[in-house]
């Protein structure tokens, strides 16, 4: 292969890529926060013994599990506006898609953490006279959180990577900005190699923070 690499034109436009990276981080952060809220609600519904809470939540989760993520992006961007008779900003549509997707998966993470706590812990607290809510707050949830951390981090990394699909809605994330730079420079090899490395650095950095958080939350184990 006698291709001569030239990162010059790409690096000249690094500000465009930096903006893309920033947008990627922004949309991921917002979607993680909203996804956690969605996930908490869904998990509480799933943990309920009431069918009218349990079943809708199950359907929601199974729907997201069994459909491709890009379909959710298209649905929120092209379909929902038809229903609401308003047009949605790509950013809003992408956040909706990402936070509902991650919410469905976080719900299973949260529920899994709660149900993994041994019966003896419930009994130990109940025997002291703790109410259900005190028991949850003081005994079950703190231990469940420690167990949720690894799968939670895993799902959040999935979300971070899935943000690239927002580029299909013309949201100016890292991938979309790369496409813009490519259109100006005709240097796909350099452009996409650069952003692959940028994603890599982002994810590796994030995983270092995640490991710190994990170590703190599971200190007693």
């Amino acid at each position: 292969m006698d291709y001569s690499w030239d990162f010059g034109p790409v690096l000249e436009r690094f500000d465009m890529l930096a903006l893309g990276l920033l947008n990627t981080v922004k949309i991921a952060a917002v979607s993680i926060v909203l996804g956690v809220l969605v996930g908490l609600v869904l998990a509480m519904m799933r943990l309920s013994t009431r069918k009218w809470l349990n079943i809708p939540s199950l359907v929601f989760i199974e729907f997201y599990r069994n459909t491709p993520p890009i379909v959710h992006f298209f649905w929120f961007f092209y379909a929902l506006p038809v229903m609401l008779a308003v047009s949605l900003d790509p950013y809003v549509a992408a956040v909706l898609a990402l936070s509902t997707q991650s919410g469905a998966f976080y719900a299973e993470v949260f529920r899994g953490g709660i149900v993994s706590i041994e019966r003896g812990q419930w009994e130990g607290g109940r025997a002291l006279g703790m109410t259900h809510s005190a028991l949850m707050r003081r005994v079950i949830v703190p231990q469940a959180i420690a167990r949720m951390v690894p799968p939670f981090i895993e799902r959040s990394f999935e979300l971070l990577k899935t943000t690239a699909l927002a580029s299909t809605l013309a949201y100016a994330d890292l991938l979309y900005q790369a496409m813009m730079v490519n259109a100006e420079t005709f240097r796909p090899l350099e452009v996409y190699t650069t952003i692959a490395l940028m994603y890599l650095v982002l994810l590796v950095t994030a995983s270092q923070f995640a490991r710190l958080a994990e170590a703190r939350l599971t200190a007693y184990q």
Partner: protein, 257 residues
């Protein structure tokens, strides 16, 4: 005995689906009584004990604590409001076979937990009480340890301190030494013996028949879902009348009194 019963059980039945485990039990406990409950594995000893503090729901029957029926009767059906059950459980301390300490809290915090969360005591006050209870079970040195780092015997003593911290009127022990290595059984039995000497009211499910003999004021042999034979330790453990009790004791072989 002549005192007023502190705990009364009337017509207790417990079913798990079709499995009829407890088949009509009547039982009273007077203050200061120490009742040892023995019986084969799966005979319903734990279930019986767990019905006392409503860790299991009753299928039928009544439980009276200090002259008051637990539960609220309305139009012929009895409900058990959470608040009332919490109060009952606070008054009946329970110690489990598997300790059930909270692994994410230090030893001291395990003992303080009920005092703060359930009884609403201030942290300094809870701490004072917890320290005193831990001293009593000989674990003053272990305040800051994680429960998971302690031996089984130490964990069980923390669990006893945790139950005692709530000032329960009755203590329920469900095979407190069954999951311990033999060399750790003694330290836990010594603590229970000390509680007996204080005159506490206790119900103890155990396979330590030698200990039961010295510990109990009353021994119950549970079989077929009923109290098959009830009497003094001497009557039940040395001179059982029922063939089934004799059979059970024979299978346990000689035990040192």
């Amino acid at each position: 005995m002549t005192g007023k019963p502190i705990l009364e059980v009337k017509g207790l039945h417990k079913r798990f689906g079709d499995h009829h485990v407890l088949k009509g039990i009547d039982f009273t406990v007077e203050p200061g009584e120490r009742v040892a409950i023995i019986g084969g594995s799966g005979s319903g000893k734990s279930t019986f004990l767990r019905c006392m503090n409503f860790m299991e729901t009753l299928s039928e029957g009544e439980i009276w604590l200090d002259g008051t029926r637990i539960g609220v009767e309305k139009k012929g059906t009895v409900t058990y409001p959470e608040k009332q059950l919490c109060q009952v459980r606070e008054r009946l301390g329970m110690v489990f076979q598997q300790f059930n300490l909270f692994p994410h809290m230090s030893v001291l915090n395990n003992v303080m937990e009920g005092l703060v969360t359930v009884q609403g005591k201030s942290k300094p006050e809870a701490r004072r009480i917890a320290e005193a209870e831990l001293a009593k079970v000989g674990l003053s040195e272990k305040h800051d340890a994680w429960p998971g780092r302690l031996s089984g015997g130490q964990q069980q003593r923390v669990a006893i301190a945790r139950a005692l911290s709530m000032q329960p009127e009755i203590l329920l022990f469900d095979e407190p030494t069954s999951s311990l290595d033999p060399e750790l059984v003694g330290e836990v039995l010594r603590v229970i013996k000390q509680l007996a000497e204080e005159g506490r009211t206790m119900l103890l499910v155990t396979h330590e028949l030698g200990f039961a003999y010295h510990f109990a004021t009353k021994v119950i042999f549970l079989a077929e879902g009923v109290f098959h034979e009830v009497g003094t330790p001497d009557e039940i453990l040395k001179h059982p009348k029922q063939a089934r009790t004799q059979d059970f004791l024979r299978r346990f072989g000689e035990f040192a009194f």
